[in-house]
Homo-oligomer: 133 residues x 2
DNA sequence: ACTGATATTGACAATCGTTTTCATGTAGGG
DNA sequence: CCCTACATGAAAACGATTGTCAATATCAGT
């Protein structure tokens, strides 16, 4: 019922460090592999648990891929925002959408919906990837 | 390389009929169970394949749940639109967002992104569920 | 209708991301 | 230092989805 207390462990520190060093969205398994590459021996379950906790605490952002895989990213902006992601290379830009936020509220009110939340992601091809093609 | 030809089978007809009869989003397994309940003996693999094909052809809409499960729905509007979904009962309203569409384009242009698409879903609690508590 | 090329089906196994289990280790307040 | 709740990790379990493949059905062309 009450929020569980988080402890500071070497594993979580290592995971957090890796996530911060990766600029784009990455899967739990990606991060686990990267940890291994850097000599860390954190267990895969721990990576999953830590990332889930970080996401629950709002410390990292999540992105659901079409195939259901969850990706994580350490964003610069802690406040609510959305993402513009390159389908090809994964380059990610944090974007703000005040227009969308108000639209969401209005739509919900119009249909008498309460306690509203939303998910919004924009995908495309970045300039760099277009140049290569 | 070329688009595969679709054949009209009793199984697909049955699946399509069930999807149309369910007003909200439902999983492939839900639909398979409903088919069984109605006496149909369509295989689960067939249900998955048919729904994927229908989604690819734009005949049904899909919704990715947080846990990665894919839900399907037969929408009245064939054109691009979004959904306002009740978290509790699943009641779904099709909504149009011209504001969001233009915002998306603008954001993409500002960051020099090409070939843009987006996903947007709004969740909340409908009036009926609020009344109950 | 008959035929043949090819798409479709379905029972089952396999895949794969994620969660659970549970015995052991550890953080951190008192 | 001690205690206890939380965290870890190896392995097994889970669950949605996809692959396999032999048998079957569709449908365009004759
Ligand atoms: Zn790119
Ligand atoms: Zn928003
Ligand atoms: Zn729809
Ligand atoms: Zn849209």
């Amino acid at each position: 019922m009450n929020t569980p207390i988080r402890r500071n462990t070497k594993q979580r520190a290592a995971i957090s460090e890796v996530v911060q060093s990766l600029s784009n969205f990455h899967s739990a398994q990606d991060i686990h592999a990267e940890l291994a590459k850097r000599g860390s021996t954190v267990g895969l379950s721990t990576v999953y648990r830590a990332l889930a906790a970080m996401a629950a605490d709002g410390d990292v952002d999540t992105l659901l891929r079409d195939d259901g895989e969850t990706l994580y990213r350490q964003c610069a902006d802690a406040a609510h925002h959305h993402h513009l992601v390159c389908r090809q290379c994964g380059a990610t830009v944090e974007v703000d959408g005040p227009t969308v936020e108000t639209w969401t509220q209005r739509i919900a009110a119009e249909h008498d919906f309460d306690d509203v939340s939303h998910t919004l992601e924009v995908f495309g091809r970045c300039a760099q990837c277009r140049a290569q093609g």
